[in-house]
């Protein structure tokens, strides 16, 4: 534990608690969450809805404020990290602005952060290449397919080159074939950029296929029930999903989910 808490740690949560006050009484969204994410890891958060996986990601992004415990991002508070533009965030929906072209959408964070025009063009070109969208910069979002829109939104999150990429069920609304393809691309991108990725999903194969670490969570109250370090190699072709190792990890995740479920 002390080894993991070295300066390699990107995200560190200790005894994290978050309670929402609602009209129907308090909701315990996160309870005693302890987790360390190291630099360069690909961490998936998996669990049924209401287990707090998205809430935890939003806490890291300083979009929610924990009510107890400590949380640091890059050694700072989440809010300081946000102000330092430490992470790119990809939402469930692409959320591209319909009045901007794809290139202009990717420029949006760059404009806000005050990059020069030449630098903006350069970066747009690079990230469009990274997500395989060369030549689509001049199109409007509504002229592209759902998968392409989501790739553009990943490009937007990559544009300002933050070390951390937070993704909240980014492929949840896409069909299986597109999703496989994007998963493959995401792994390649991760290998090239060496970013730390936090990835929320409710698909077991997706979590196992992508991650170096799988965090299994369960609801009421939202908590971590299992943390699995994946034995799979870094190089992962799609058919790795048929190997016994893969199936074994998937089995363990399923067990963890089931254990969390019998509690209520």
């Amino acid at each position: 534990m002390s080894e993991a808490a070295s300066n390699q740690a990107v995200v560190q949560a200790q005894g994290l608690d978050l309670t929402f006050q609602t009209n129907d009484g308090p909701i315990h969204a996160l309870k005693d969450v302890n987790l360390t994410v190291d630099k360069g890891e690909f961490v998936s958060f998996i669990g049924p809805s209401g287990c707090g996986k998205t809430t935890f990601l939003r806490c890291i992004a300083a979009l929610e404020t924990p009510t107890g415990g400590t949380l640091t991002v890059n050694g700072m508070t989440p809010d300081e990290a946000r102000r330092n533009r430490a992470y790119g965030y990809v939402f469930q929906a692409a959320g591209l602005y319909p009045w901007r072209t794809i290139a202009k959408n990717i420029k949006l964070p760059l404009e806000i952060m005050g990059y020069s025009a030449a630098e903006q063009d350069e970066r747009v070109k690079n990230v469009l290449e990274l997500v395989d969208l060369e030549g689509f910069g001049g199109k409007f979002p509504w002229q592209l397919s759902g998968g392409m829109q989501q790739r553009a939104s990943i490009a937007r999150a990559l544009a300002f080159d933050a070390d951390i990429l937070l993704m909240d069920e980014p492929f949840g609304a896409l069909d299986e074939i597109v999703r496989d393809h994007l998963n493959e691309q995401l792994l390649a991108l991760w290998a090239r950029t060496e970013k730390t990725i936090g990835f929320v999903t409710h698909s077991i194969p997706e979590a196992v296929y992508l991650s170096t670490k799988i965090v299994v969570m369960s609801p009421r109250p939202g908590r971590i029930t299992d943390v699995i370090d994946s034995p799979l190699p870094k190089e992962r072709p799609l058919d790795i999903r048929d190997t016994p190792e893969f199936i074994e990890v998937a089995h363990r995740v399923r067990e963890g989910l089931r254990a969390g479920h019998t509690d209520d």
């Binding site: 946000r82 102000r83 533009r85 009045w99 949006l108 509504w142």
Partner: protein, 281 residues
């Protein structure tokens, strides 16, 4: 009587023509969509002419379209002067002042929640009131000239514009706001880059509603007092002198001005909100 019969025949012919167009293979084409209302409108005008002539309807009740057209052509200088007085000076200046004031107010309302809670119900309430009724008061305050008309227009367009703009500024989704938050964007950055563009369809809705209100305000305010100039003045005095052809000529001007004004705003809307689903069609 023959003319009246002819009018009936013309009506049947026009309807038959449009039925053929509507059930024909080109029914959804642009040409038919333009042609059918034109045929309908022209049929009505032709029938109007024929019936007025056929039944010898006196001029003081309903002048024939041809008489109105002649009057229109003969009075172009007067109509133009009235147009400038009422539409350009009264309606347009009031429209610009009222809409920009409402826009600025909307930004304040959007920024401070307390204002939104307090002012928006009041605004919604006022937007449904017969505001033209303030005309006699404003004429008393600002005099007979166009200033008082502009003031009436300001009051009339303010609340519909305010309510629409505030609704628009709240249109950006929670996710889009969160995105701005992750960039640590400032209030004005997120206003200019997200909320304002997202509000445009609503803002233009307010601007379009306001065009008609502006004309109504400017014309009706003149019924409560005006210099010897202006469309409302001309309508009320010509009605008094029973020269209805002049009244109709002014109404033609009002109709043309109304559609042109609205059309202009709609054109700008199309250019600005090209991305909105309603405009992509």
């Amino acid at each position: 009587m023959i003319l009246v019969l002819f009018a009936v025949f013309l009506w049947l012919f026009g309807w038959w023509l449009n039925s053929r167009l509507a059930s024909g293979p080109q029914a959804d084409s642009r040409a038919v969509r333009f042609l059918a209302p034109m045929i309908f409108g022209l049929t009505i005008i032709a029938m109007w002419e024929l019936v007025v002539r056929g039944l010898d309807v006196p001029l003081v009740i309903l002048p024939a379209p041809s008489v109105i057209a002649v009057r229109f052509a003969d009075s172009l200088p007067i109509l133009w002067a009235d147009f400038v007085q009422t539409i350009i000076k009264g309606a347009l200046s009031g429209y610009l002042i009222g809409c920009s004031a409402a826009f600025l107010m909307a930004i304040a309302v959007d920024r401070w929640d307390f204002l939104r809670l307090g002012l928006l119900p009041v605004g919604n309430f006022v937007a449904a009131l017969p505001i033209v009724g303030t005309a006699p008061i404003l004429v008393m305050w600002f005099g007979f000239d166009w200033h008082s008309k502009a003031a009436v227009v300001v009051v009339m367009v303010f609340f519909p514009m305010l309510v629409n703009t505030v609704a628009g500024l709240r249109e950006a989704t929670a996710m889009q706001r969160d995105l701005m938050e992750t960039y640590a964007a400032t209030y004005w950055q997120s206003f200019l880059k997200l909320r304002l563009p997202a509000a445009m369809p609503f803002i233009f809705n307010g601007l379009k509603i306001s065009t008609t209100l502006a004309l109504i305000g400017a014309i009706v305010a003149e019924f409560f007092g005006s210099p010897t100039l202006g469309m409302g003045f001309r309508i009320s005095t010509s009605v008094g002198q029973l020269s209805l052809d002049m009244v109709w000529a002014e109404i033609v001007v009002a109709a043309l001005a109304g559609t042109a004004f609205y059309g202009l705003v709609a054109m700008i809307e199309k250019a600005v909100t090209f991305w909105h689903p309603s405009q992509r069609g």
